[in-house]
């Protein structure tokens, strides 16, 4: 007799909702920022200027840092090259390791290299946190990754594209600390019956209730790579490798996998 996956695999809807409850408020904030920047960009008959937009963005991000209990590491707006030139209106929080001398509610502007002729200049439009939202027109979560030049923190970057009409003028984004996300997420995923793992679109573990699965490791399950690469993904839960369930968390680039904990050979 064959096993019908639907009878054996755990339901993932509840976890998808829990994960959404953590990330949706952050994206809601980004939507507000995107709207404000869009409105600024769409003012008729005036040229967009850094000197005007930067203070506007700074006022927005200050509130995000104040409200976040240390979850937010960095935040701001990154301009499309044709809008304000190569420009990051980006701030770092007072609570991370890179800014220990700032008061807890202080923020620091990120100084960046904006001259494309400089040998050290990097084209940020090729990077995942820019490229994916620019291509899909939707929100995206990049990471986790070690942010070794900015803050040394293990980071998730949430970005959202900003448009003037149909023209992309930049992305707004927030960097979150993976430590803090773990603190928020694990209690929501905790059950003793099944292991619940949140992964990104590369199959990299963001958090897991499975002791054997480290954050940052790649989840390896037969069929997972094919599901992650599916050009027409479904929002519904999908049976995976017999006893597991896979479900995308909306269009964030995160997915949840639930099932038996990874086997580990006894020593």
């Amino acid at each position: 007799m064959t096993i019908i996956p639907e009878q054996k695999t755990p339901p993932t809807n509840a976890w998808v909702a829990s994960i959404a409850a953590v990330f949706d408020p952050v994206f809601a904030r980004l939507e507000q920022w995107a709207n404000l920047v869009e409105r600024y960009g769409a003012r008729p008959g005036s040229v967009a200027e850094r000197a005007e937009l930067d203070p506007l963005v700074e006022r927005l991000v200050i509130r995000a840092f104040a409200d976040s209990d240390g979850t937010v590491i960095g935040a701001g707006f990154v301009s499309a090259p044709h809008f304000l030139g190569w420009h990051l209106a980006w701030w770092l929080g007072g609570q991370n390791a890179a800014s220990p001398r700032l008061p807890a509610d202080g923020i620091r502007h990120l100084e960046t290299l904006e001259d494309p002729l400089d040998e050290n200049f990097r084209d940020y439009t090729a990077l995942e946190w820019w490229r994916v939202p620019a291509e899909t027109g939707r929100r995206h979560i990049t990471g986790p990754y070690v942010d070794y030049l900015c803050t040394d923190e293990y980071t998730l970057t949430l970005t959202l594209p900003v448009y003037r009409g149909v023209e992309l003028i930049g992305v707004v984004g927030i960097d979150l600390s993976v430590d803090e996300i773990e603190r928020d997420l694990v209690p929501l995923l905790g059950t003793d019956a099944v292991a619940v793992t949140v992964i990104n679109a590369s199959g990299r573990v963001v958090v897991s209730t499975d002791t054997h699965l480290a954050t940052g490791a790649l989840l390896r399950l037969p069929g997972l790579t094919r599901l992650l690469a599916d050009p027409a993904p479904t929002d519904a839960a999908v049976g995976l490798h017999g006893a597991h369930t896979f479900q995308w968390c909306g269009r964030t680039g995160l997915a949840v996998v639930a099932g038996p904990a990874a086997d580990r050979a006894p020593d």
Binding site: L88, A97, E111, L113, E114, R122, E128, W129, V146
Partner: protein
């Protein structure tokens, strides 16, 4: 938002990011020395004033002054008086060579070997973990970095090797390993890869980098670790050989372009 600024402004932002913890003067010194030797701060570039530097790094002015004083003594910066005065980076291949040779002479063989052991522990495990944790996109990115790396001169090859090792460490997904890799590079990076002044060693280094990427693609952690460890050990042995030559002959007669081997007797 780090990947945007990794090689450029981010490096600079990191250099002038505030410091925390004990041994601040050493940290200031280490960070600035590293930045100068790795070429993030260019020859002739003007450093912020003592007060500005202290403010940016979050240290006392006297700490910044001490660090600048040692940089001056190490011939890494020069201070000019007057209206257009300030501290300027004075770092060329020549000063790099003699500085590193002084350093090599001052280290005992035991210290040099122990540095190798420490670095093997960090970089070896980082490479092993990277083989397990690197995604296809990560490996593509690493290959792009290798393609862009210029190994034509000793300085470029050293910078390229530093970047490569840092990228591999980042693929381990361990913030601690990355911090330790950065710390070791800052402290010893320019010394450790001194052997890259020989063209043959630069070719060999590039080959090992390519083989390491192939091991990551094959998810062969043991191979990635082995390649890394044997590369470090070879480098350490080159240093010890070079040290022996320096001790026998006194100061070497390098021309100061940073590409001349210490001696033809140094191992290939």
């Amino acid at each position: 938002m780090p990947k945007s600024i990794r090689a450029g402004s981010g490096t600079r932002a990191a250099i002038f990011a505030p410091l925390d913890g004990a041994g601040r003067a050493e940290l200031v010194l280490q960070r600035l020395t590293d930045a100068i030797v790795l070429g993030v701060l260019h020859d002739g570039e003007r450093l912020p004033s003592e007060a500005a530097l202290a403010r940016q790094l979050g240290v006392a002015t006297v700490t910044a002054r001490d660090a600048l004083e040692i940089l001056r003594r190490n011939n890494l910066v020069q201070t000019k008086r007057g209206r257009d005065g300030g501290s300027f980076v004075t770092f060329t291949g020549g000063s790099a060579t003699s500085l590193q040779e002084d350093r090599l002479l001052a280290c005992s063989r035991v210290q040099v070997r122990d540095l190798g052991v420490h670095y093997c522990a960090i970089a070896g495990l980082a490479a092993e973990l990277a083989a397990d944790r690197a995604s296809a996109a990560d490996v593509d990115n690493l290959e792009r970095i290798l393609d862009r790396t210029d190994a034509g001169t000793a300085d470029a090859a050293r910078r390229g090797q530093g970047t490569f090792r840092l990228e591999v460490a980042a693929l381990s997904q361990s913030a601690r390993l990355v911090r330790e890799e950065l710390r070791l590079q800052a402290e010893f990076g320019s010394l450790l890869w001194l052997g890259l002044r020989e063209p043959l060693r630069r070719q060999r280094c590039r080959a090992v980098q390519r083989e390491t990427v192939a091991a990551l693609v094959a998810e062969n952690g043991a191979r990635a670790r082995q390649l890394t460890v044997s590369q470090i050990i070879e480098s350490i042995e080159w240093l010890i050989e070079a040290k022996s030559v320096l001790e026998r002959t006194g100061r070497s007669t390098t021309t100061g372009n940073g590409t001349t081997p210490v001696s033809s007797e140094a191992p290939v």
